[in-house]
Symmetry: C3
Subunit: 261 residues, 3 copies
Amino acid sequence: MSVVTLTTDFGTGSPYVAAMKGVILSINPAVTLVDLTHDIRPQDVRHGAIVLDDVTDRFPTGTIHTAVIDPGVGTDRAILYARIGNQQYVAPDNGLLSRIIRRTKPSVVIRLENPEFWLPEISNTFHGRDIMAPVAARLSLGLNPEQLGPLAEAIDRLAWPEVKQTPQRIDGEVVEIDSFGNLITNITAEMLTNRPTDNRVCTVCNIYETWGIFHAYAQHPDGTLMALIGSNERLELAVVGDNASARLGIPVGSPVALVWE
Amino acid sequence: MSVVTLTTDFGTGSPYVAAMKGVILSINPAVTLVDLTHDIRPQDVRHGAIVLDDVTDRFPTGTIHTAVIDPGVGTDRAILYARIGNQQYVAPDNGLLSRIIRRTKPSVVIRLENPEFWLPEISNTFHGRDIMAPVAARLSLGLNPEQLGPLAEAIDRLAWPEVKQTPQRIDGEVVEIDSFGNLITNITAEMLTNRPTDNRVCTVCNIYETWGIFHAYAQHPDGTLMALIGSNERLELAVVGDNASARLGIPVGSPVALVWE
Amino acid sequence: MSVVTLTTDFGTGSPYVAAMKGVILSINPAVTLVDLTHDIRPQDVRHGAIVLDDVTDRFPTGTIHTAVIDPGVGTDRAILYARIGNQQYVAPDNGLLSRIIRRTKPSVVIRLENPEFWLPEISNTFHGRDIMAPVAARLSLGLNPEQLGPLAEAIDRLAWPEVKQTPQRIDGEVVEIDSFGNLITNITAEMLTNRPTDNRVCTVCNIYETWGIFHAYAQHPDGTLMALIGSNERLELAVVGDNASARLGIPVGSPVALVWE
C-alpha cells in the first residue's frame, strides 16, 4: 500500500487539488492519498520548504511527497525527483527541498525530462496536475525513478537565515506561525544543550521578553507570554490559552534572541 | 479495513494533522483515515464534545475516533480509551467524551499508561502525535485495549446546561452554529412529543420570535426566520436562504425558549 | 477499488461532511473517498455546476461523484443518478449537472425513488446524508442503477450565459475565481482557433485592458495584468504574482471581451 502526500498553495478545498487526485487515482486506484497541507501561503516557497522539513519524516518509508508551490511554472525551471533519507519527493527545483537537504543529503536526484510518464497534454500553468501527479502515481506503482530522466547535478538552495550562537547569546528568528498563533523559531533544542534554561535566560522578541524556557504550555499562567521547546524540537513563543501572533502582532521574519546574564 | 477518524482544533490544513497521519500510517499502512473536523474552536472542549456526540454514531462498528482538543497537554490530565456503544474513542480526559456518555454508558474506560504503545520520544506539547496517534494505529491493528493501561474509575464530566421543561414552556440554548449559520439548540425532537408544533408554539431567542416548528427550510419564505427540527433531531433557528448567525448576531450560549399559549 | 467523491457547500471541516463519510463507510468500508471540494458558495448551484464540469473528467472510469448543493431539500425536487461519459453522478435535479451535459449527453438518467437503498429514517433537511450517501455507497458495491428508480425523462437545465462570437470580437464573462484570485472566463481555447493571439488582440474587462494572450504566467512581468489560456483550456485574467480579484475588484459575472483590431 503506497502513500502519496500532496502539499500545495492552492487552498484547502481547491478543485485543483481534486484534479491532481483524479489523475493519480486514474493511474493507481489503490494508492493512499494524504493531504499534507494546501494552505501554504500563495507562491511562498520558503513556507512550503519549512513544512516539508517539519512533517515528512513522520511518514512510512518510501512515501512519495508531491509538492506544488510553483511560481515558475511555464519557465525552464526543472522538476525534480529526490530520495532524501527514507522518503521520496517530487517538486519543482525552486528551493522547496532546500531546507530538508540541510539535514540530510539526498541519495538520488533526477530531473523529470521523460514525457512518457506525464499526461499526454501538458499545460503551461499546471505542471502539478500534468507532470507531478502522474509521475507520483507511477512511482507509487513501482516505477524505477531512473526512468524519469537524467541525474541532476545540483539542486536549488535558498539562503536560509543562520542562527548566530555565542556563549552569552543566540540570535534567530520567527520562521513560522502555527494555527494556534504560536511563533515558531529556527532556534533548536539542540542549540540549548549545556546551557541553562531556567530563570537565567531571557527570550527577547520585539518589545517583549520572557524569562526561562519551558516544555509545556501548562507550566505558565494563562494569558502570559512564555518561551518553550515545542513539538518539533524548536523554540517557540506562545501566549498561554491565546493567539500570540494576533495578540503581539509579530510576523514571520521577526528577530528572536536568547540572552544569558 | 479499520477506520480511524481525527477530530482536532488544529485548523484544516494544519501540518500537525499531517504529522498524526504520518505516525498512524507508519504503524498501519492499510488504515482508512477520515477527518471528522479540524475546525473545533481552539481549546474549546465543549465544541469538540458536541461534534463527537453528533457525528460518531454514523461510523462503522469499531471505528476509532481520535480527538485532540487538549489544552491541558503536559499536565497530569489522563488520556483515555473508551468503548461507548459500538464506537471506540481515544481522547484526553477533559470532558471531550462527556456529552456522548450522557446518552450511552461506556462499556470500557482505560487510562493510557503503558508507554510501550507510544512513540519512543514523547513531547510535552503534542500528545496527539506522540501518544494518541500510535495508540489509535495499534488499536486499528487489533491491539487489545486492556494492554493500554488500567481501568479508569471515573471520567471527567463537564456540567452541561440542562433543558427546563414545563407544560407551557421549554427553555434551552444555542449550543452550536453550523457552517450555514443555522443556530442549533439543545432542545431535541423527543422533547416535543405530544406537544403541538403548529402555530400554537412560539420560539423566542433574544428579540426575535417565530411561530410554528417545521421540518424543511422550504416550508418558509426566503429571508424569514424559522424554527425547525434539523438533521440531528434538534431544534434549530434558520433564516431561509441566508446566514442566521450573521444576520441576527446570536452567539453560542444564547437562551432559546419554546412557549405554548 | 471504487472511488466516491463528495462536493458540497458545507464548508471544509464541516461535521456534516463527516456524517456522510460515516454513512458511506458503514455500507462499503473499502471505498476510496475523495473530497472534490466543500467550499462551493452556500446554495450556489451554478458554482457547483462549474466545478463538477471542470474536474470530474480527471477521475477513474466509473467514479461516483456525489454533489450536495441542495437549497431545495425537503421540497419535491428529484434526486438523480446520471451516467455522463465514463463518470457517474448522484445529485439533486436542480441544475448541478446542467453544465456537464452541455458537453456530453447523459447515457442514463434515473430518479432516486426506491427507499430500499436509503437510510431507514429520512430527515427533511439532509438528503445528502440520508439518501445520496447510502445510494453512492451501494453503487460503489456494484448495485445496478436501474434498481434506484424510474428513468428520468428530463433533467433540469439552467440557462448559462452564452459566449457571443463575431470575426472582430468575442464576448464572454467571468464564471469563476480560483484560489489564487485568477478570473476564469467562459471563453475557451477552442474559440480562439484560427484567430491571432499576439498583440493584435485586446482583452477588456471593466476599466482594464491587456494585449496578447499567453500560455504561462512567467511570460509577463510581475505585478502586471495578463490574459492567458489556463489549465482548464479557458481564458483567464491574472495579475502576475498577485491576486487579480482582490487587486481589481472584479466579481463573478463581469463581462470580458476579446477585441481584434
